[in-house]
């Protein structure tokens, strides 16, 4: 039996300060500040949580876990950010975590009362990973303000599940983790829709995406890599050359225990 420690995935994970030994799946929580992300984290993990710092950073990090139908999920709370452009410590941490720790599912918490502004982060997350669930939180405040959010329609537009919640009263939290479990177990197939680009740009992106995918078949964030290369991001060039980005393309956990009966995306019909 080969040691867990020798596998590159393990190295990458311990580098992020994650200990996966007691958990089956890794889920992370992203979102703008003031979206009730912490309330949701508390609602999901209860008292099972640890707080500390991100390795080498002065940014607080919280992690905890929950169990659903016998599967143990580890939940890591990312710093609240408006984008993933890595202009601040927080943004860099959030981006690197989704990029390198490769969570089985990323929950993006959005403020139902300020959906438009919050979608920017959702698009950026969906560039990096397909495995995401959008949590439309603060539904009570939206109702109070006379806003009606059609969450099914949002889900159709984004191509990933969207679940309405009120984290403070735990409303919708069970639906949320069910959707997360569905994405993790691949019972729900996600197909993120990316914002349309001008034709010339779109062609260039598509060409580069297919090239990156041939270089590293199965790489989930080929689109993100293509964007960064077209922007001339030096770190990404280096990461591609050194193989850091493409190292862990082989599926890193056993396929789901229950083969999926449902293929269609929830709410897509």
């Amino acid at each position: 039996m080969t040691s867990c420690k020798s596998c590159p995935v393990h190295n990458q994970l311990t580098h992020m300060g994650i200990n996966l030994e007691k958990y089956d799946r890794l889920v992370t929580l992203a979102g703008n500040p003031n979206t009730g992300k912490s309330s949701l984290f508390n609602a999901l993990t209860g008292l099972k949580q640890h707080t500390g710092n991100w390795p080498g950073k002065t940014v607080t990090r919280a992690e905890g876990g929950f169990i659903l139908k016998g599967v143990r999920y580890k939940l890591v709370d990312l710093p609240g950010t408006y984008s993933l452009l890595s202009t601040s410590q927080e943004e860099e941490i959030a981006r690197d975590f989704i990029l390198f720790a490769r969570p089985d599912c990323t929950i993006v918490v959005v403020d139902a009362t300020a959906l438009e502004r919050n979608l920017n982060l959702v698009f950026q997350v969906l560039e990096i990973t397909d495995k995401a669930v959008v949590c439309v939180n603060l539904m009570d405040e939206a109702r109070r303000k006379g806003l009606e959010v059609d969450v099914r329609s949002l889900s159709r537009h984004l191509g990933v599940p969207a679940v309405p919640t009120v984290a403070r009263t735990r409303e919708g939290v069970y639906d949320l983790i069910s959707a997360v479990a569905g994405v993790v177990q691949e019972e729900i197939q996600t197909a993120p829709r990316h914002p349309p680009l001008p034709p010339q740009v779109a062609d260039a992106v598509e060409e580069l995406v297919s090239l990156v995918e041939r270089l590293a078949p199965g790489l989930p964030n080929a689109r993100w890599v293509a964007y960064r290369l077209l922007e001339g991001d030096h770190r990404v060039r280096q990461a591609l050359l050194s193989g850091e980005l493409t190292r862990q393309v082989t599926p890193r956990r056993a396929p789901s225990r229950q083969p999926s009966p449902k293929i269609a995306l929830e709410g897509a019909q």
């Binding site: 959906l115 438009e116 059609d150 060039r237 050359l241």
Partner: protein, 466 residues
């Protein structure tokens, strides 16, 4: 095209990317951002329906007043004054009751120990030293905290604090600091160590350092009781009873404003000298007003804050009480150790409008500012001198008649309690956050130097006028 067939190497991808990048030009980044924003707008328009509703308007209408350039700051001052006034008026009576009960217990214990024939020094050390320190802390600090913290937590829970930050933002930017410093400053009112940690929300290292170094200029929980007591005993008592509580609250507000003023002044000076630079921009979101939940307010304010501060004060006060008892009872020559040290410090203390005992108090109170008042009183009273239960009236006559206090002493003590070295916890936190001995030393010594300077100035001015 070589890359369409065979194996793709990383270098091929990079080369092709460079070609495409030059073909697209440097508008690529903007085009991505534009596409994100227009898609976000399109989706939001289809997904979100707006019904006309009054609540939404209410939030905005409140914000228009609360954050208006005209009413914003005055309203803030008014709210602050009301909070202090309620605290002072409300805490007065329970404080005296508590003190009476706790000191009655000390007398009973003393009598009991005497009856049992326990040696005098054990009784003195235990009851007149350790216990008395604790009793003072509890009776002086508990009632104001139990009133002040819930009120402050209500403001916090309502969502008022981000509005404060919004109102103060332009001032901080003028001072060359980050607007978010308003939030870390607000946190400093609770605890300076917590305020220093909160400076992590500031991204620019330069502005973060400014916020860390100036956090101690706002009085923390540990110092509010000192300010409130002095304002009540000296300022309020010097006026007719009708104005007393208002004057006391006004005094505390004035000290707080002075602290905020020093925060701006020192931030400005730092960003013009050792931490030169321009203020960077930031987005401040005004969250919706939320109805505070009663249970959470009681929990955060009473358990997280009141009990936490009180326990910390008691943990520091017990050993300090013991140290004071030893200092007051170990004699070298004719007078006690405490008297020797106080005597040695008194020329400096007098120049600052204070006295040697007060300076000695601030040295003993370095671990925790909470124990300034109890320590000072214990040194003044020595051991066994206080046979009757303390009340604010007795306190006042004792300090004025036996120890030569004047209004200047009280005012300068308030000033010095605002401007002196941060407590040991805060100093340690500054070191942990900056990892630099130089900045830590600066954070500790700069306020102290300012304190010496300001009290020396007021003392000199008052003496010249007299």
């Amino acid at each position: 095209m070589n890359s369409r067939v065979g194996v793709v190497a990383p270098q091929d991808v990079l080369d092709r990317a460079e070609t495409l990048r030059y073909r697209l030009g440097d508008r690529f980044g903007d085009q991505i951002v534009e596409s994100f924003y227009s898609e976000a707008e399109r989706i939001a328009r289809r997904v979100v329906q707006v019904r006309g509703d009054r609540h939404w308007d209410l939030d905005q209408r409140i914000d228009r007043v609360v954050t208006s350039p005209l009413f914003g700051l005055p309203l803030m001052l008014l709210l602050l004054s009301v909070v202090f006034w309620v605290t002072i008026v409300g805490a007065n009576y329970p404080s005296e009751m508590l003190a009476r009960a706790l000191f009655w217990f000390e007398a009973q214990a003393d009598a009991l120990f005497n009856a049992w024939g326990v040696p005098g020094w054990i009784t003195g050390f235990l009851w007149h030293g350790v216990y008395r320190g604790l009793a003072w802390v509890v009776s002086v600090m508990l009632p104001p905290m139990a009133i002040f913290f819930p009120l402050f937590t209500i403001l916090e829970d309502l969502g008022y604090l981000p509005r404060v930050a919004f109102n103060l933002d332009w001032l901080f930017r003028k001072a060359g600091a980050d607007g978010k410093q308003a939030l870390t400053m607000a946190m400093g009112f609770g605890c300076n160590a917590a305020g220093v940690i909160a400076c992590r929300i500031i991204n620019s290292p330069r502005e973060r350092l400014i916020a860390i170094l100036t956090n101690t200029f706002v009085p923390c929980n540990g110092r509010f009781p000192t300010l409130i007591m002095l304002a009540t005993v000296f300022v309020a008592a010097a006026l007719p009873p009708v104005f007393a509580s208002v004057a006391a609250a006004g005094t505390v507000v004035a000290v707080v404003l002075l602290g905020v003023g020093f925060t701006f002044l020192v931030s400005w000076a730092l960003s013009r000298t050792v931490l030169r630079g321009e203020a960077s921009a930031f987005t401040l979101e005004l969250p919706p007003y939320r109805r505070p939940s009663l249970l959470r307010i009681l929990y955060t304010s009473l358990i997280d804050r009141t009990i936490f501060v009180l326990l910390r004060a008691m943990m520091m006060a017990a050993p300090a009480g013991a140290v004071i008892w030893i200092l007051a009872n170990l004699s070298v020559g004719n007078s006690s150790l405490a008297q020797h040290i106080a005597h040695f410090l008194s020329p400096l203390g007098n120049a600052m409008g204070l006295d040697g005992v007060i300076l000695l108090t601030f040295v003993i109170a370095i671990p925790a500012n909470e124990i300034v008042v109890p320590t000072m009183l214990m040194i003044y009273m020595g051991v066994g001198m206080m046979s009757e239960p303390p009340s604010f009236g007795i306190l006042r006559s004792l300090l004025i008649e036996q120890h030569g206090w004047t209004l200047l002493t009280a005012v300068n003590l308030m000033l010095f309690s605002l401007l002196h070295n941060p407590c040991a916890t805060t100093i340690l936190t500054i070191w942990k956050e900056t990892r630099s001995g130089r900045w830590t030393a600066m954070g500790a010594l700069m306020p102290l130097a300012l304190g010496f300077l300001v009290t020396f100035l007021t003392a000199t001015i008052v003496r010249v006028i007299e």
